[in-house]
Symmetry: none
Subunit: 197 residues, 4 copies
DNA sequence: AATGAATGAGGATTCATTCAT
DNA sequence: GATGAATGAATCCTCATTCAT
C-alpha cells in the first residue's frame, strides 16, 4: 500500500468560478443582516466580516457602498416583480409582499423615500431605477377605478406613506403598524409575507 | 502630555457674556440649516462653523449630538403646541402648522419616525418626549368621531405616514406630496404655514 | 455624512502582508522610545508617527492605549522571566535584569506601581497579570530565609520601593539611585544589564 | 424700635479683601480633593467648579497648572516643616507626618519622585524647591550615625522608596505598605498622622 | 480571485487659557 | 475681583478604499 499524501496544502478546491458567485451571495446576505442590525450606515468591513470574506472581495463585487445597498434592495424589488408577474395574483397580494419587505428591511424603506430625489442622506442615486421598477410592477396589477389610480402619484405616495408608518423595534410591531396604515388608506392588503413560489 | 497653546496669533475676541444666548440661537439656526442640507448625520463641526462659533461653544450648550437635534425639534414642537393652544383653532389648522414643519425640516421627520423606539440610527431617545408632546397637542383638538380618533394609534400613525410621503428636493414639492397624503387619508388639513400670532 | 477620499495624491504604497509583523515590532519599539521620552500619557499619534505608520495601523494591532503599553511591558517582563529561567542563575542576577528595565523604561516603573489596583491614572488593569508574572519569576529564585522572604508582600514592596527611587534625567543616574536603594534594603543585586543569552 | 432692613440684595458683603483669601484657600482644598480623586491630570475646570468659583479666579491666583499643584504640596511640606520645628520632636515623628501625606495625597508622591529632574510627566519644575525644604526639615532631626545619615543621598532616596511603595486603593492599605517599607529599610517611624499642634 | 494590512482623512470630544462684562 | 463664555489646538478613534502578496 502506498502512502497517501495528506499534506495540508494541496487541496484541489474547485474555487474560482463558483466561489465568486457564492461570495457575492454571501455578501448580499451579510449586508442584509448587518443593515437590519445596525442600519444603513454600518461599516462595510462589518459586512465583509459577516460574509466571511476579505474586504477586497467586497470591492471586487461592488464598486462602492451604494452598490452594496442597491444589491440588497434589488433582491427585494425582484421579489415584488415576481409576485406581480405570477399568474394568479392581484394587487393585495403584491402589496402584501411589498409590505413584508418594508417590515423586514430598514434599507428598503430608505429606498422608497428616495424616489423623488435629493435625499440628503447616504441613500443611493440609482435607487431611482429600483423605485420605478416597483411602481411598474404594482401598476400592472392596479385595477381601473382603484383608490390609488386616481392621480398619477397616488400609488407611490401611498407606498411612501406606509413605509413612513413602519417603525418600531420588532418586525411584528412594524407589521401591525403597516396594516394600520393600509387600513387608514382604505386599501386592501393581502397576507404580509415574503414571495414564495 | 498636556495641552499648550502654540500659536501667538490674536484670538478672535471674546464677545463676552451676552453673546451666549446669541450663540445658542445661532447654533440652533445653523443646525436647522445644516440638517436640512445634509441630514441628521451632518458633522457637528459643520454646525459650529455655520454658526460662526468654535466647536467648544457647541459642546458648552449641548452635551451631545442628540441635544442639538432635540433643541431644533423642540422649537418646532413648541410651535405646534402654541397653535393648538390658540383660542380660535381647530385640528386642520394645527395639522397645517405640523405639516409645514414636516416640509421644512428633515430632522422633524426623523423625530416622528422615532416614536416607537430602538431605531439603530442616531435618532435621539428623548425624542420620545417630543413625540408625545405633539400627540398631546393634536389630540386636544381632535373631535370625537374624527377619522383618526377611532383606534388609539391612528393619529400618530397618520402623522408618520404623511411624514413618509414628504420627500423631494424642493419645499414646494414636499408640500404638494404632503397634501396628497392627507387627501388619501381623507383628513382635512388647513393652510400649510408656520405658526403666526 | 460618509467618508470620502478627496485628495488625488499617490498613497505611500502598501507594503503588503509581510509588513504586518514588522510594523507591530516598529510600533512597540516606537512606543518604548516615546514613553521614555514623554511618559505613559504620550499621544498615540506620536507613537504611530515615530513608527512610521498610519494611526490606523496602531489601532489594528492594539485595541486601545492600554494594549500598547502592555505590549511594551510584556517584552520587559519576558526578559525577566527568561533570566529567572536560565540554568545558572540566582536572585541577584534576576534583580539585576529587573533593575535594568526599571532604569530603562519609565513605563515599566508605572507597571509595578499598578500592582495594587485602582490607580486613577491611565495605568492598565491587566498590568496586574504582568506584575504577577514578575513576582512569580522572582520568587522562583528567592532562597528560603532571604531578607525578602519573611512577609508575603515584602518582595513586591521592595521592587516598588526601588522603582520609586529610580528617578533622574540620565540612565546612569537612575542606575546609581537604584543601586543605593538595594543597598539600603540590604539586598544584593547583580550587574544591572539587559538579559543576554 | 426701628425696622431692620432685611432685603435680599444689600448685604454689605465685605467681599474684596477677605474673599480673595477665602477663594484661594477653597481652590487649594478643592485641588487637593480633586487630585486625590482623579489624579494630577484632572481638568482645572473641575477644581474651580469644586471650589465654587469661576475659572478666572483660579487663574488670578495661580498662573498655570503647575502653580496649583505646587500650592497643594506646599501645604503638605509646611506641615512637615512645622512638625520638624516643634519643640519636642524627633525623626520618627517627622517621618510619621511625612508618611501621612504620602498616603493621603497622590500629588505628594509625585513631588518626591520629581526631586531629581527631567521627570517626563506633568510634574512641576519648581517642585524641586519643595523637595529641598522637605530634606532640610528631615535632616535637622537626623541623628548622627543614623542609618540614613551615611551617604548624602540616602535620606531622600529612602523617602522616594517609601513613596514608591505607597500604592493601593484605600488609604489604609497605603499606610500598611508604607509601614512595611520603613520596616524593610530598618528605619523607625512614628504614628502616621497629620500634623497637629 | 482572495486576503487582510495600511493609509489617512474626517469627525468627536476635551481642556488650557483668555477676556468681555 | 469675579464670572463663565468662547476659542481652537490636540488627541482619540473610525472607516472607506487601495494594493502587495
Amino acid at each position: 500500500m502506498t502512502q497517501h499524501r495528506v499534506s495540508e496544502e494541496r487541496r484541489p478546491a474547485n474555487e474560482g468560478r463558483k466561489a465568486a458567485a457564492r461570495n457575492r451571495a454571501a455578501l448580499v446576505a451579510a449586508a442584509r443582516a448587518v443593515y437590519s442590525e445596525y442600519g444603513l450606515d454600518a461599516p462595510l468591513s462589518a459586512i465583509a466580516r459577516r460574509a466571511g470574506v476579505g474586504q477586497g472581495v467586497l470591492y471586487r463585487h461592488f464598486p462602492d457602498r451604494e452598490a452594496v445597498a442597491t444589491a440588497v434592495l434589488e433582491e427585494n424589488v425582484r421579489e415584488v416583480e415576481r409576485t406581480a408577474a405570477a399568474q394568479d395574483t392581484d394587487l393585495p397580494r403584491v402589496l402584501g409582499v411589498l409590505t413584508w419587505h418594508l417590515t423586514e428591511s430598514a434599507a428598503f424603506i430608505g429606498l422608497l423615500h428616495a424616489d423623488g430625489a435629493g435625499s440628503p442622506s447616504s441613500v443611493p442615486s440609482y435607487a431611482h431605477d429600483l423605485s420605478e421598477r416597483v411602481e411598474r410592477a404594482l401598476r400592472a396589477r392596479l385595477p381601473d377605478g382603484h383608490r390609488l389610480a386616481a392621480a398619477d402619484d397616488d400609488l407611490m405616495i401611498a407606498i411612501a406613506m406606509v413605509s413612513g408608518a413602519v417603525t418600531g423595534p420588532t418586525r411584528d410591531q412594524r407589521e401591525r403598524r403597516a396594516r394600520a396604515a393600509w387600513r387608514l388608506l382604505g386599501v386592501e392588503v393581502g397576507p404580509v409575507r415574503p414571495f414564495a413560489e
